[in-house]
């Protein structure tokens, strides 16, 4: 009984880690470009496919394939930001939303045409290695997912808090015009933010793809749940997003294990509605 309990805790942390990576990208992009990016899930999916192709076609080891995939997807992000999102910055928010939705439909269906709908397995080579610790058991790929998530979140935190560019990013999120007035190159911050968000999503997609499977439609549900995380964590707050990710991961893991597996995708939304009912002022604190 106790081991089952801790097993669920571990699963929850793995899930939470992947939500955190997605949600951080979404929060950054929302905070700086003020766009709700529905296409983030497709970036996540492309990242997973990139890692899949790198490791199966080119024979690159999994742990090396992830950073390469992140780099490639970051470049893709630069192109997308420049071609798609830059023209509508400052336009009504509904435009950005529809634009990202169009991008999401486009990328997902293009992937369906190119890669076909069947789920593929991405073999990291670590999923059969079991690690035992204090009577608990975890496969190495899940442990790696946790480690990668912690590392990336830590690096992002240091980047944003300690570097000059990170400070500029925070300044743009705070007040776009004022940042521009003191000489921040806003266009460069937009590109950089989008690229970082995409790279984080690619890492999450690769890790989750290795644990479960890779398919063109894999990105939609995790990203919608990450939106819940972004709202729960208080729009724009990075620490809040990480905490909310862990909470959601644990709730889903326990709900799926003890209550009902069929409704495992609904827990995120139930959590959101509960939060609205119990603590509306906390959520409203973030409203415009």
């Amino acid at each position: 009984m106790r081991t089952v309990f801790f097993q669920q805790v571990l699963n929850g942390i793995v899930l939470g880690g992947s939500y955190a990576l997605i949600a951080l990208g979404l929060t950054l992009i929302f905070g700086i470009l003020e766009v709700i990016n529905f296409a983030h899930g497709e970036i996540y999916m492309i990242g997973a496919f990139m890692t899949l192709f790198l490791s199966t076609l080119c024979g690159i080891p999994f742990l090396l394939a992830i950073p390469i995939s992140m780099g490639v997807v970051a470049i893709l992000g630069l192109i997308i930001e420049r071609a798609v999102f830059r023209p509508i910055i400052g336009k009504p928010m509904i435009n950005g939303m529809l634009l990202s939705f169009g991008l999401s439909v486009f990328l997902m269906n293009l992937a369906l045409l190119l890669f076909k709908a069947d789920p593929r397995s991405l073999d990291s080579g670590y999923s059969h290695i079991h690690i035992r610790f204090l009577g608990l058991q975890i496969t190495l790929d899940r442990l790696l997912a946790i480690i990668v998530a912690i590392t990336l979140v830590g690096l992002l935190y240091l980047f944003i808090q300690r570097t000059k560019i990170g400070t500029a990013m925070r300044a743009v999120a705070e007040d776009r015009e004022a940042a521009q007035a003191v000489g921040v190159n806003i266009a460069r911050i937009y590109s950089l933010t989008f690229a970082i968000g995409c790279a984080l999503a690619a890492a999450a997609g690769s890790m989750v793809g290795a644990i479960f499977f890779v398919s063109p439609t894999m990105g939609w549900t995790p990203v919608m749940k990450s939106f819940v995380v972004v709202i729960l964590g208080g729009f724009g707050s990075l620490t809040g997003a990480v905490l909310a990710s862990l909470i959601l991961g644990l709730v889903e893991s326990f709900g799926g294990g003890y209550i009902s597996y069929a409704y495992k995708d609904a827990y995120a939304f139930i959590l959101l509605l509960l939060a609205f009912l119990l603590k509306p002022e906390g959520l409203l604190g973030g409203s415009e």
Binding site: F30, E34, I36, V84, P87, I88, K91, P92, M93, I94, N95, M97, L98, L99, F101, G102, L103, S104, V105, F106, L107, M108, N109, L110, L112, L113, M224, F227, V228, V230, I231, F235, A262, Y263, D265, A266, A268, F269, I270, L272, L273, F276, L277, P280, L283, L284, G286, S287, E288
Partner: protein
């Protein structure tokens, strides 16, 4: 337009709409007209919520689905006629909108948009998983047609698409009339005030929550009625018809036509229902092109086609949001 001109214009328009099915011999084209009618109801009711009151709702298809499911389940399980169930479908959707709106309409902008989107997803999840009631992804087959009614000495049987066309026409015109009366009343002016500046509206004594809630309930209730009509027309419903993509689809129709106009959403709905029929292709390719077209539309016509044309040719600035 002068009153006389306007009167002549609307008479001619209604005559044309009445005669329209006579021009089409193929059943399929009449089917497209009926679907255009259903989407007109959806786009216009969404226009009341987003275009006039400025509250971005991304769960319109959820209320459309609620209306469809309530109406279909009542006629399948209790043998109620469409003439009773469409009211209940609409009322059910409006009641759900009231309960949900009470909580979320306090939010603004992006927060409201994303929360309503998540609500829409949750409704689809429930429809998919509450298999005891909704039969999940299998859907509900065998929904009965509306029972025959006598009209002007003729009995409408609802066995042909043309009869459905006339019924949807009545629905669309009645709904358009009610919407027209709302937006040209004191309520409508309060709604527009809220859209333009909520704080200012509140400061002059407008109970913003009440009017936002009113717009949300009326719009969602109309969507419920459209859903009920859809269920008793197609005679089969399943959760895939009421997803977030469908909400966005309705939103695109509304924006395409020009959301802050009375006639725009209907124009958008009719155009975007009929136009894609010329591009019949396999699923994924069609959706790829849809995504591309949507991006092009937003980047190059940020105000919607009607809005952009209006700004260019008439330079009337009424498309701010």
């Amino acid at each position: 337009m002068k009153p006389l001109h306007r009167y002549l214009f609307f008479t001619a328009l209604i005559l044309l709409l009445l005669l329209l099915p006579q021009f089409f011999t193929q059943d399929y084209y009449v089917h497209m007209l009926v679907m255009a009618g259903i989407y007109s109801m959806l786009a216009q009711s969404l226009g009341l919520i987003i275009g006039f009151t400025g509250q971005v709702s991304l769960c319109h298809a959820a209320f459309y689905g609620m209306g469809a499911y309530i109406s279909a389940l009542l006629s399948l399980n209790f043998g109620l006629s469409f003439w009773v169930t469409f009211w209940l479908g609409g009322l059910g959707a409006a009641a759900a909108a009231y309960l949900f709106g009470r909580i979320v309409l306090q939010l603004k902008g992006h927060f409201l948009a994303i929360t309503t989107a998540l609500f829409g997803i949750m409704v689809t999840l429930i429809l998919d998983n509450w298999t005891g009631l909704t039969k999940g992804p299998m859907g509900l087959p065998g929904i009965p047609r509306p029972s025959p009614i006598p009209l002007l000495g003729v009995t409408l049987q609802f066995t042909s698409r043309t009869e459905y066309y006339y019924l949807v026409l009545v629905f669309v015109l009645l709904m358009a009339y009610v919407t027209y009366r709302i937006i040209h009343s004191q309520i409508g002016r309060a709604m527009i005030a809220i859209r333009e500046n909520q704080e200012l509206a509140r400061s002059v004594g407008i109970d913003t929550m009440r009017f936002k809630l009113a717009a949300f309930c009326i719009g969602s209730g109309f969507a419920g009625i459209a859903g009920s009509f859809y269920a008793h027309y197609i005679l089969f419903i399943s959760p895939v018809s009421f997803t977030l993509s469908e909400s966005i689809n309705i939103l695109v129709m509304m924006i395409f036509g020009g959301m802050q106009t009375f006639i725009g959403p209907m124009v958008g709905a009719i155009t975007l229902t009929i136009l894609p029929e010329f591009l019949r292709m396999t699923g994924a390719l069609r959706l790829t092109l849809y995504g591309l077209a949507l991006m092009t539309l937003i980047i190059f016509f940020p105000l919607g086609v009607v809005g952009s044309v209006k700004e260019k040719w008439f330079s009337i600035d009424e498309t701010r949001s």
